[in-house]
Each structure stands twice: as C-alpha cells, then as structure tokens.
Amino acid sequence: MDQPARPTRQRRSGRIGKAGLALVVLGILFLSPALLAQDWVKTGTSLGVEKVRLAVSDFKPSTTDPQNTALLKTFNDTLWNDLDVSGVVELVSKSFYPLQTPGQPPEVNFLAWNAPPPNAAMLAFGNLGAVANGRLTVQGWLYDVKNIQSPQILGKQYGDAASDAAARVMAHKFADEIILRLGGGIAGIAESQIYFVSDRTGHKEVWAMDYDGSNQHQITRLGSIALSPRISPDGSRIAFSALTKTGWEIMMYSLDLNRLVSFPHMGGTNLSPAWSGDGTKLAFSSSRGGDPEIYVADASGGNLHRMTTAKGPDVSPVWNRKTNAQIAFVSGRTGLPQIYAMEADGTNQQRMTDQGYAVSPNWSPNGQFLTLAWVRKYGPGEPGSSDIYLMDIASKQWVQLTHDGGRNDFPSWSPDGRHIVFQSNRSGSLEIWSMLADGTKVQQLTFSGRNTQPNWSWK
C-alpha cells in the first residue's frame, strides 16, 4: 500500500552515529520481546466505510419438539427485526442465501456465504430447541465468513423456560451481543423500554413497551391525567406530572415496588420533570412563584432551587445527560417558544433556535446533539408543519428528520444514540413512532388509543 515517505525519519536515521548505533542494537536486544508482543494497526479515513453486510440465517431446530416451529418463528423474526433497525449492519436479503443453512459451526460453507450472491462479510446462525422438561435452549454464533482461519467473533448459549416471551428475550440478547461488537462497544437497545402516555383505558395513564412496540403494559392507574413520564437513569423510578386535588404536581412511581412513592407537592402548576444523568437531580417547570420557571431539586424533592427568572414561561427542561453540566429548555421570553440552553446553575443562558415555534428538546446520550420539535414557519398563512429536527449544539447546524408526515412532537433519544422515538399523527391518530437518528427506518410502534409523549429508557 502506498504511503507518503517520511523525510523526518530518514534524516533522523541518517544522523545516528556509531555510538548511537551501538545503543540502538543494545536497546533492540533488550526490548525485542516487548516489541514482538506489540500489535500495530494502521488505518485511515480515506478507505471509506461500508456497513457490514450481515447474513442472518434462520436458526434451525435442534430437537424434534412440536413447540419449536412457533418458537423459531418468534426468535427468527425478532432477531431479524432487531438487527434490521439497529442502523449498524446491512442485512443481506434472504433471497440470496444458499439452500443449505448452518445450524452448527461445522456446517458453515464459507464460500457459499462470502462470495456473491450473498457476498456477506458476517454470518449469524445457530439453533433452537425445546426439550421435554419445558426448557428452551438457543445456541448462536457470529462468524466473519471472509476470515476462514479464525472466523468466530461470538458464540453464545441461552437457556430459559420454553415460551414465546423467552424466545423473544433471547433473540434480543443475541442481537445486542452482535451490535455491541460490530457497533464499536455501544450496547444494543433490544432490551430497552419506552414509556409513554396512553388513553386506551379512558384515562391518560403511563404505559411501557419494548423498544419494538411489543409487550405493551399499563404502569399507573390513577384515573386522572398523567403526562410526561420520565424514567430514571437506573430504570427504577418514573417521574411524571399528574393532575391532583391540589393541581398539577410531580409524581414518582417506583417500578421496584409497583406503586407511587412520596414526592413533595410544590404548589402551582408543576410539569415536565427531567432526570439528570447521574439520577440525583430532577429539573422541572413550576409556577409556584407565579410565572412558570425552571426549578432543580434533589431526586427526593428537597433542596429546591430556581434556575430561571426571565419574564415569560420557561418549561420543558432536559439535562445534558453526558456532562450533567447544561440544561436545555423552552422559553417564551421573546414571544414564540424557542429552545434555550444554560449551565446547570442557571448562568449563561443562550438561545439555540432562531425562528418559528420550537419545543420538546431532548439531549443526545453523547451530549453532542439536541433533537426538538420545530415549526420553522409559524403563523397565519404560513404552511409550516411540526417536524423533528436535529441540532448540533456546538455549531448550531440543524437537519430536518421528518418530512410531510403530519404533526410530529416529543422526540426522545435511544440509549445508543442511534434512534429517536416520537409521537406523530401521520397515521390519522396520535401514535408512537421510532426512526434512526438520520430519519430513516421509520416504524409505527403503537396502534390502539391515542399514545403520546414517549420517553426512552437509559439502557
């Protein structure tokens, strides 16, 4: 491979005298074992990066149990979907696969997979089998099929009770393992949860579901109105605002105890709680002083501090979850709501959006981006629509992620920073949708009732 010459090194080597040479020889003699142990990798940006072409062969039955057919379908469908929406790999269409698919490592025919038509770089395969005592065992491998000498990247075995839910969980776990390796150490989201508000029972309550929309279940049963659920970083508590006898208050629900736990009533209208990245603080908006302002309290509700003082409403705070040093929020101090950012102590308040109607900020896990709902052209005669945008905080450059798809609002980042969940009425009613953070792979997650204000778990 061509590389530019390094004149500095050549000059340097030319100047080495005899004494220096002797020293170098001595040094090599002593250091050679260490040098031999050192692995050097040379690479660069000019090589281009393609997504890995991954073939996912349907897992094969390892036993003759009659349950296998249904469990295999659940497992294979879930694994395929997890990898397809991961944004990390490019799945090779199953129509290119060879007729003989492997269920065990010795059955892998490398040439059939690494050459066209599949031309796969990686192959995920394995087997699944239920046995008589109600157990389900899954073995899965990930092979680098272009590296015939040492192909195995991953080999896993899972065991659980034979059920549809267990097969789904095992597929999620295996998909996460693959994404962890091929995605550069960022854990997959297949086991993450999305919390949202649904009125399908007649009241607006907090609900939860798997990241792919399956396993939807109700969390709160207040019989009132619950809004803006926010899961804590450790996944143990949900803070939300609810209409109580004394008005809108911040409420706390423990997922460990499956009941409400105490949180002080602040007075006034208290809305949109937001957890800090370390889970020790809660920011929310409160009108206890008259004007809605941003307040920060401990996770227990104590040690309350007011962060904003400007005339006009300040609402919807969200922490920079990587540094915990900044808070973004929505302010109407100049008229229409705009996104602002400030230090966590309330100083250095800075406007982020320049026009229109901007709400619902959400900070990316790496602290680099804000996603927000924005009507760039707002007002009578302006045909603006509410769309999801992404803004690079340092440069204030932005990208529109949704286009011509109804009214979109409440974006929330996935823990891997590759996905965004949001609400949209593009299907006719308010439902939860998710997409990759570049606006692709849009998929609907909820289908019954009106579902709003999604919040993705932290892990």
Partner: protein
C-alpha cells in the same frame, strides 16, 4: 278571526329601515377597521406574539455527523474491478514508413512483410508482485476486508511489529476502529479556508476495555485546525468495545491517518 284574513294587506314603507340597516353596517365595519388599526398591533405578549430576541445564526446543512455510517455501500454485485487477470500486451501493427512509387517494377509483386503475433518474440509479461493486490480490486478477497471502497484514495490497513497478527485475525475490530474514528471526525472544525492538506497521522493505543489512550499527533499536516480536529475525533470516543476476549495482548497500537480535501 276571519277565515280569510288578509295578512299581506298592510305594507309599511321599507326605505327608512333599509337606510338604517345600511348605515349601521357601515358604522360597524368602520369601527372594526379603526380598532384593528389602532389597538391590535400594540397588544399580545406571550405565545404566538412574535418578537425577535437575539439574533442566532442557525443554518441548514445537508447532514450533521451522525452515529450512522457516513459512506454509501458499494454495489457488490458488479464493480469495475478488473480482477486478478493480467491484460495481454497490445499488438502494434507496423505502418510502412513510405509508399512505393508505382514504376517499371510495378508488375513485380512486392514482398509483403507480414508480421504476426505468432512470429513475434513473446514479450515477458509485466511482472506483478505476488503479494500485492491493487487496492479495492481482486476477485475473491485475499484477506479480510480487502474490498474497501476507496473513492480514489490509496491506502489500507497493515500490521507492523514482529509476530502481531491482530489485523488479520480480528479484521472486524479494525473496521470498528476505522468506522468510529471516521464518524467522530467533524470536518467543520477545520479552518474553512483550507481546501486541501497533507495527511495527518495520529497514533493511539486501545487498551483492554476498548478505551483509546495516549492520543498523539505523530506527523502534523501543517494545518493546526486539521491536527486538532483529528485529535478531537479520538478524544470524543469513549470506547471501541472491549478487545476480543481471546486476544492475548493488553493493548493494540493504532496509527490512523486523516486525509482532508474540501471538494
């Protein structure tokens, strides 16, 4: 009441009522116009009232560097690769230097020199080093990831250091490094006046848990902002993912180059 009462019999004059009605309509319209002109503009603070605030320059860009892959996948079914086969040397047909004048020897059939490839002494084929494959070419890959799309650039990853075979054994990990660094390199940090620059070399170690350490500029590009952007790309990365569990070493050293040209 009589059965045949004439209900349409009495007629009042309409002219007066019509005049009142028209007058009232005109008065109400004038009052509305006057009100909107005088009062409406001065009222309305809060949501929807407009207002300027400080000027912020937010600009539309086609892309913001995202966690997704920046490069487009190449069509794998067909490419312009010539493969490993060697092209035959082209046979040059010799053109006569001069045309013979038709004279008295015209009847004599000139001896036609026919040079054919079979008579020509076979030329030795251009030597091709057996251990090299042109970048991005070659039929079945000669090694893991030998088919990176290059977009006109030359380069590739290689291994130096005695005995280390990390790059060949764990090619997938090398690709992860390459992808993550490329993703985290924000080109807008580079001085916009720079159109092209020398290659900058960064070296760093990846320790057991995948964390990059000892990030250093090994060879500067001569453009400080490019050097800094390259170094920052590494500093943004928390982890590349743990080194493969069956890898015996404690760390790997990476030399990463950044090519920059603004098209």
């Amino acid at each position: 009441m009589a059965a045949n009462a004439e209900i349409y019999f009495e007629h009042d004059g309409w002219g007066r009522a019509l005049a009142w009605s028209a007058g009232l309509h005109v008065a109400i319209t004038a009052a509305l116009l006057l009100y909107s002109a005088l009062f409406y503009r001065t009222s309305g603070e809060g949501w929807g009232a407009g207002g300027g605030g400080e000027a912020i320059g937010a600009t539309l860009v086609s892309t913001v560097p995202l966690p997704a892959n920046p490069a487009q996948a190449q069509n794998v079914l067909a490419n312009e690769s010539k493969g490993l086969t060697q092209s035959q040397p082209k046979i040059e047909e010799k053109v006569a230097d001069a045309i013979e004048i038709q004279g008295k020897n015209a009847k004599v059939k000139p001896k036609k020199k026919q040079e054919t490839a079979s008579k020509e002494k076979p030329q030795p084929a251009p030597e091709e080093e057996t251990n090299q494959v042109a970048f991005g070419e070659g039929g079945p890959v000669s090694g893991p990831y030998g088919t990176f799309s290059a977009a006109g650039a030359k380069g590739g990853f290689g291994i130096t250091g005695g005995g280390g075979d990390f790059g060949t054994k764990y090619a997938w990990y090398v690709r992860v490094i390459q992808q993550k660094v490329a993703e985290n390199w924000l080109k807008y940090e580079i001085d916009p006046r720079i159109t092209t620059a020398q290659r900058v070399y960064i070296t760093f170690d990846v320790v057991r848990d995948g964390h990059p350490m000892n990030v250093q500029v090994e060879q500067s590009s001569g453009v400080p902002s490019l050097d800094i952007s390259a170094k920052r790309a590494l500093e943004r990365i928390d982890t590349f993912g743990a080194l493969p569990p069956d890898y015996s070493g404690n760390k790997i050293s990476v030399e990463f180059w950044f090519d920059y040209s603004r098209k």
